[in-house]
């Protein structure tokens, strides 16, 4: 059979039809579409055996041991460490993003110097040549160098504070947060010793007066685990049905500025039904008299907005419990709590005899000092950064010549950002050790990037809210990705050049010495274990009443009439922490009613919305005396009337594309409030005004 032209065409036509009856065209089309996704520059997860290495999560509170899974030496995943008592196998969304953050585009890859308003890359030798003469020139001049640290648990603080002491400065400050505020009220106002911890594992009833302890207060990871074990019954008092309220046996809706009053209203019933506490409490009678006169059931109802029966039943539950524990604190796990609220919560625990006892408040001893010239931990916690910045901005104190920022981003995360900026502008030379190009690093003159926590040796002594003294050490799990340096080792090098003896050759030696002083096993610490000691500090004489307390209790708490809505700040680790911005993992998990394009959502109930003339989806302006934010409305009946939930963590102006320009920074609505009596400056939880901009949908 000869194949002519016609026959050939028939063969081709048959071939085409036949091909359509095979998987070839469909499979080929599908495979080509997949092939177009496989570009060589897209990173691939390596194949091979998976190994785990212990590490210590150091992205801000909470801090606990984690495990990093590695394939062929490359970290691929961070997960909870079941053998670390502060993790128990749990991990929070920010720590879960830690491997991803190693490769964040916001990471500072090498030292940088600002010249003519722009950063230029320099070598480490050039960086040291730049800073060493400046520090040397300021040596011996009182308070010319200052430092802000946002890591409350690392021994690096001792090196920083010791270096400052050697240079003649006492201006070491911790970034304001719950640790500093609790310390201030406990030690300076009530005359307590040690620092406070809370024995949640030992309690059978926990009353949280504000803290969202399953999300943002203390070590939420460990608290979630304990709650899951059912070791305690949980009651929550606060203005919003957050995660803690949703899981609690009872939610008692109370506005944030009434939480301290609720504590004293409960004290009224406890004082009536219980004998005086065994602890030696100076001023017990005065407090008794004050509560009896000012928190009668009628007064309590007026001050808290709660029915008398609710307060009575709550007091009854506390009295019936064998090991009750009251937790006063911030709604957002930050510095938005007043001295008054803390004092009232501490008093309630003391009246219930819940000090240094199982399931109560614990007075934890200070960490041992390993840098000879460094101040004590208590002294380091005593600095009040908000008060200092206010004084610098107002010109009532001289600005330091040089300021160091360690793991702290005050330009973004402090209240009254205008005042913070004004104060920082007065400081001629600023140095940041930040790993990331954050808002504060961008204002600095010299950047000396620290390793990512997975690349460095670091430690954590008794993170906030721990029940007992504890100590953990994290070893690096990989070689540094960029040309960064360990800040404590850099500081030790610098101290050598400045002829200051900080008592250690390297950070490793220093941590080993600390472990030795604690009688902790270095091998166990570095293999993911934790040292723990249940020793508590006995209290000679606590003060329930003194001049400062009476002034603090007596101050006027009324707010201007035009700001009527209580702002409830809410922290979510998916949107980062005060020192870490939204990680890419976190951004992916935000729902469309949390962030829509670049606008975040506030939550309020229908009645509040109606009162303020807004509705679901309205684009609104939130105005406080300190600032303004733009948001959309999400109606939520889990929020009290006249309250609005505003999420934190948005509105970064630096960092990377995953966090920059996403929503507004709600912290700009906060002001700084320096309380009369306690003398403590804190972020004031503002009342705000909500007004509609336009109908958005």
């Amino acid at each position: 059979m000869a194949l002519d032209r016609r026959g050939f065409l028939k063969f081709v036509a048959g071939g085409v039809i036949g091909t359509g009856l095979t998987p070839l065209p469909w499979k080929l089309t599908d495979d080509i579409s997949i092939w177009t996704q496989n570009w060589p520059w897209i990173p691939h997860i390596p194949d091979g055996e998976i190994n785990s290495a212990p590490a210590l999560a150091k992205l801000g509170q909470p801090e606990y041991g984690i495990l990093v899974s590695k394939v062929k030496g490359s970290p691929i995943l961070a997960r909870g460490n079941p053998n670390h008592p502060l993790s128990q196998g749990g991990i929070d969304p920010l720590a879960a993003s830690s491997v991803q953050l190693l490769h964040s585009p916001a990471r500072i890859r090498q030292p940088m110097r600002k010249k003519n308003g722009a950063f230029q890359a320099i070598s480490w030798e050039q960086a040291i040549q730049e800073i060493a003469p400046k520090l040397s020139g300021l040596k011996g001049q009182k308070n010319k160098v200052a430092c802000v640290s946002g890591d409350e648990t690392s021994s690096t603080n001792e090196i920083l504070a010791g270096l400052l002491q050697g240079l003649g400065s006492e201006k070491f400050f911790f970034h304001p947060g719950e640790t500093t505020l609790y310390h201030h009220i406990w030690q300076k106002i009530m005359g307590g010793r040690g620092h406070l911890g809370f024995d949640l594992p030992g309690a059978d009833l926990v009353l949280s007066l504000g803290p969202d302890l399953l999300e943002s207060w203390g070590n939420a990871v460990s608290q979630q685990y304990l709650f899951g074990q059912g070791t305690f019954r949980l009651l929550y008092a606060g203005p919003v049905q957050n995660n803690t309220a949703a899981m609690a046996s009872r939610w008692i809706p109370v506005h944030s500025d009434a939480l301290g009053h609720l504590a004293l209203a409960l004290a009224y019933h406890i004082l009536k039904k219980r004998s005086p506490p065994r602890q030696n409490l100076s001023g017990f009678r005065q407090l008794h008299r004050y509560v009896r006169h000012n928190y009668t059931p009628l007064e309590a109802q007026k001050k808290t907005g709660l029915e008398e029966a609710t307060i009575q039943s709550l007091a009854g539950e506390l009295l019936q419990a064998r090991r009750p524990l009251v937790l006063p604190g911030s709604l957002s796990g930050s510095c938005d709590v007043s001295g008054f609220d803390l004092y009232c919560g501490f008093c309630l625990n003391l009246l219930l005899d819940r000090l240094n006892t199982a399931g109560g408040m614990q007075c934890i001893p200070e960490p041992p000092k390993v840098v000879p010239g460094a101040p004590s931990w208590s002294k380091m916690l005593s600095g009040d950064l908000l008060a200092e910045l206010r004084r610098i901005a107002q010109g009532s104190t001289e600005a330091p010549e040089l300021m160091l920022f360690y793991e702290s981003n005050p330009v973004y995360s402090l209240p009254d950002s205008k005042l913070t900026r004004k104060a920082l502008e007065k400081i001629p030379y600023k140095v940041s050790f930040s790993q990331f190009m954050d808002e504060t690093a961008a204002t600095c003159d010299l950047l000396l990037p620290q390793h990512h926590f997975l690349e460095r040796l670091d430690d954590a002594f008794t993170p906030f809210s721990s029940a007992a003294a504890n100590y953990s050490v994290g070893l690096p799990v990989l070689e540094p990705v960029h040309s960064t340096r360990s800040t404590p080792d850099l500081l030790l090098d610098l101290s050598g050049k400045l002829e200051l003896d900080l008592g250690a050759e390297s950070y490793e030696t220093l941590l080993k010495e600390k472990a030795g002083l604690l009688d902790a096993d270095w091998g166990k610490l570095t293999s993911g274990g934790m040292w723990r000691n249940n020793t508590v500090v006995s209290q000679d004489r606590l003060e329930l009443w003194n001049d400062r307390i009476s002034r603090m209790l007596g101050q006027d708490r009324e707010r201007p009439d035009k700001y009527q809505v209580h702002m409830v700040p809410q922290t979510d680790r998916r949107t980062g922490s005060p020192r870490t911005a939204i990680p890419p993992f976190g951004l992916k998990t935000l729902r469309e009613e949390e962030l829509e394009q670049n606008t975040f959502f506030i939550r309020l109930n229908r009645q509040t919305a109606r009162k303020n003339g807004v509705r679901e989806g309205s684009l609104v302006k939130i105005v406080s005396p300190e600032g303004t934010c733009r948001a959309k409305v999400n109606l939520d009946e889990g929020v009290m009337t006249d309250a609005v939930v505003v999420p934190l963590g948005f509105g970064h102006t630096y960092w990377d594309q995953f966090s920059r320009g996403k929503g507004d920074n709600a912290l700009q609505l906060f002001g700084i409030r320096c309380e009369s009596g306690s003398g403590m400056c804190h972020c004031s939880t503002p009342r705000v005004r909500i007004s509609k901009i336009e109908a958005a949908r």
């Binding site: 028939k10 036509a13 048959g14 039809i17 036949g18 095979t22 495979d31 899974s69």
Partner: protein
């Protein structure tokens, strides 16, 4: 004229037949590269001895990371020395266990890098629902790698994930699998 007409149909039929042969037989052979496993392994025998998958495939501990091939340490728990006279086992002990070298197993169901698959989230399913009848196999299946995509022949495609999610009333939103 009539014989011409008959001859005229034959090229058309031949075209169809040739296309069917190419499309069904030659194309799959060309598209996939066959890779054999480095060590012979009987799931059937091991299931008879051990009785559960998790002992070697501890995926649930790894939680978010899909592939968890047994490490040499896992094998060494039983095979630190050869248990039988089998030459394959002797090779495993000599070449991998004694040298503490990872066996380069060929994972035939590895998910692509852009898929975030958690075994923990799927722990209520039977292993065989996705991994076929692996527990009754006396040898490991060869791995067929697609030359174009790099995927394996048995990589679960997105529509299969979606179908099961829909059936189980689980969200099919993009971020559930693609982080």
């Amino acid at each position: 004229m009539s014989s011409k007409k008959k001859g005229g149909i034959m090229p058309f039929l031949l075209g169809i037949a040739a296309a069917l042969v190419v499309g069904w037989i030659i194309f799959p052979k060309v598209l996939y590269v066959q890779e054999t496993q480095p060590v012979r392994f009987s799931h059937k025998l091991h299931m008879e001895q051990i009785g559960e998958c998790n002992l070697c495939h501890s995926n649930r501990e790894e939680r978010a990371y899909a592939t968890r091939m047994p490490s040499t340490k896992d094998c060494a728990l039983c095979h630190y020395t050869a248990l039988t006279g089998s030459s394959e086992e002797k090779e495993l002990v000599r070449e991998y266990i004694k040298k503490d070298k990872q066996v380069p197993w060929k994972a035939s169901q590895k998910q692509p890098d852009n898929v975030y698959f958690s075994h923990l989230a799927h722990k209520d399913l039977e292993c065989r629902q996705c991994h076929f009848d692996m527990e009754n196999r006396d040898n490991l299946p060869p791995k067929y790698v697609n030359r174009l995509t790099g995927y394996t022949k048995t990589t679960m495609k997105m529509h299969e994930c979606e179908r099961c999610h829909a059936r189980e009333n689980t969200s099919n939103a993009c971020y559930v699998c693609h982080k």
